[in-house]
């Protein structure tokens, strides 16, 4: 446990000692800010039109603003995650510091968990920026806070699963660009798999669509915690970290 904390703190320090963390925070703030602006503007315009047409029915902020925003945040995350994970092992392998880690009295799993937790906390910090925008909604309206929390839980679960895949890919190369590129391709693939269900309703399409990380996020965006989705994400995280540990062990045999 202590070893996990030691690795975790070292990774956190190196994220925030270099520009990576700040760059990612800035990218997310700008893009999410843009989505936030267009979503709220659309919401306000629609509301005014409705009133002018004489239908005084209030529109639901949760449904028309927060839900699309959470989905957008999950897609932005898809793009940011490769940049978080690509250095985790590739950099250690390139600079030779992997020798220090692997000859220290620390289990491979502890290193993997420390690194993954650091990546997850950075991802959570990035998502945390959107709390400012959400706060604005609370200042000027009365959205329901429970679905929002569920949405963030979903974002973290989805992020954790993609980060586990990213860190696994990072163990396989000493080149950060290759690690980042491959992780991005896998993230993108896991996102667009969902699209087959749009034009195909066969069993195969359902299976493929089931593998998509986005399919499992939609209920969370609606504020629904479905055990099926939680189990999907947790098992993906477990599987990813398992593969990572095996891959790190195999470094000894392969190098």
């Amino acid at each position: 446990m202590r070893n996990i904390v030691v690795i975790f703190r070292k990774e956190m320090k190196s994220y925030f000692a270099s520009p990576i963390a700040y760059l990612l925070l800035a990218i997310f703030a700008i893009i999410f800010g843009f989505f936030f602006y267009s979503a709220t503007r659309f919401f306000v315009l629609q509301g005014m039109q409705m009133q002018m047409m004489g239908r005084g029915m209030p529109m639901d902020v949760n449904e028309y603003v927060i839900r699309p925003l959470l989905t957008n945040a999950s897609v932005i995350g898809l793009f940011l995650i490769p940049m978080i994970t690509m250095r985790l092992y590739a950099e250690e392998k390139r600079s030779g510091t992997i020798e220090l880690l692997m000859t220290s009295p620390v289990r491979d799993l502890e290193i993997v968990l420390g690194k993954w937790l650091a990546a997850l906390v950075l991802y959570a910090a990035i998502l945390g920026i959107s709390a400012i925008n959400m706060g604005l909604l609370f200042a000027f309206g009365r959205p329901d806070w429970k679905p929002i929390l569920v949405g963030y839980l979903g974002l973290l679960l989805q992020g954790g699963c993609l980060l586990a895949i990213g860190i696994f890919i990072s163990t396989m190369t000493r080149n950060q660009i290759i690690a980042g590129g491959a992780t991005f391709a896998v993230c993108l693939m896991l996102w667009v798999l969902d699209w087959v269900s749009a034009y195909d309703q066969s069993t195969w399409a359902k299976i493929i669509s089931y593998l998509s990380v986005v399919t499992h996020f939609e209920p969370f965006a609606k504020g629904v915690i479905d055990s099926k989705d939680v189990i999907f994400y947790l098992s993906m995280i477990f599987f990813g970290l398992f593969l990572t540990t095996r891959s790190v062990e195999s470094l000894r045999w392969r190098s």
């Binding site: 070292k10 320090k13 000692a17 510091t97 220090l100 692997m102 000859t103 220290s104 009295p105 289990r107």
Partner: protein, 330 residues
């Protein structure tokens, strides 16, 4: 302390280490010597549990590297060929991280960090970023990292590479001062390094153990005949005559005139197998009425030993292949 038996490491196509066995007692400094690509680094990586052996076993303090790697890792300090440093960390920050990683109690870490900084003479750069340090300082931070948790066994892969002469001397002294409490294996391809800091030498070449012994024993073993450098003030007289005179001394096999400068002629005299000739030579020179400037035994340097050993092995293998070819012809 360190026990290696029949250690073999095979990479995909190449045999990096071939059936090496040796033992190192507690508190010894052992030099691991060999040309580039001889298998030194591979052997060290097996000892540090970084690589598993293909066959054979290695034990450190009674713990097997395959069976109980965590116990082994607690007891070793390792400085790889390129020091494992994080360029975006400060020196003290880095050492604190390593201290915790090696399992030092958190309360002891700052004290130990200060101690090793003093010891490795890096106190003045403690707050600098490692990325901004010169090669020599980085090497010393690497060494500080290896001795930080006071390990029983120190494994140093070319500890003095990249240092300037003054730093090399300092590092050697540091390493020697560590012996006694620590068992040290250091690898190098610089022979004088071993002569200076090691008690025992293990020479490997092409993955095979060529020789292991103390430096003194190795020199004696390989030196069959004695070589003597002789310098004589020659005021007058024929050089050839002088040489003939020297050759007549009992036990001398042959004499070579090396140099004549400012009326000084230096000879190199070689004895017959197993004969000591220095006393005889001195008497002969004095009896002849020459002035003796210098008379000293030329020791066989480690360079010569190394070349002899590796050449002998080469000759052996070519002989073997020749025999095989002959056998094939028959």
């Amino acid at each position: 302390m360190i026990k290696v038996e029949g250690l073999t490491k095979r990479y995909a196509r190449t045999l990096a280490v071939d059936d090496i066995s040796f033992q190192v007692e507690k508190g010894q400094i052992v030099g691991f010597l060999g040309p580039n690509g001889a298998g030194k680094t591979t052997t060290m990586r097996v000892l540090t549990c970084f690589l598993p052996p293909t066959a054979g076993s290695a034990q450190i303090a009674g713990f097997d590297v395959l069976e109980q790697p965590l116990e082994v890792k607690k007891r070793i300090g390792y400085l790889p060929e390129s020091p494992p440093l994080y360029p975006d960390m400060e020196v003290s920050e880095y050492l604190t991280f390593v201290g915790k990683l090696k399992g030092l109690p958190s309360a002891d870490v700052p004290k130990r960090v200060n101690e090793v900084c003093e010891r490795c003479a890096i106190s003045d750069v403690k707050l600098k970023l490692i990325g901004k340090l010169s090669k020599g300082y980085r090497q010393r931070v690497g060494l500080a990292q290896a001795i930080l948790h006071n390990p029983d066994v120190l494994i140093l892969d070319e500890p003095t590479s990249g240092l300037d002469p003054k730093q090399i001397i300092e590092t050697r002294e540091l390493i020697r001062s560590l012996a006694g409490d620590h068992t040290i294996i250091l690898s190098t391809h610089i022979l004088s390094e071993v002569e200076h800091s090691c008690e025992r030498v293990i020479i490997i070449n092409h993955g095979k153990l060529v020789a292991q012994d103390t430096v003194v024993n190795l020199t004696n073993r390989l030196r069959g005949s004695e070589q003597v450098a002789l310098e004589i003030q020659c005021v007058n007289g024929d050089l050839n005559q002088m040489r003939q005179r020297l050759e007549q001394v009992a036990g001398v096999s042959h004499v070579v005139l090396k140099d004549t400068k400012d009326n000084r002629c230096s000879f190199e005299v070689e004895s017959m197998q197993g004969r000591s000739i220095r006393a005889e030579l001195a008497r002969a020179v004095v009896n002849a009425g020459w002035d003796l400037n210098e008379l000293r035994a030329v020791g066989l340097s480690l360079e010569d030993i190394f070349l002899q050993l590796t050449a002998a092995e080469k000759a052996e293998t070519t002989e073997k292949t020749e025999k095989k070819e002959e056998a094939a012809k028959v």
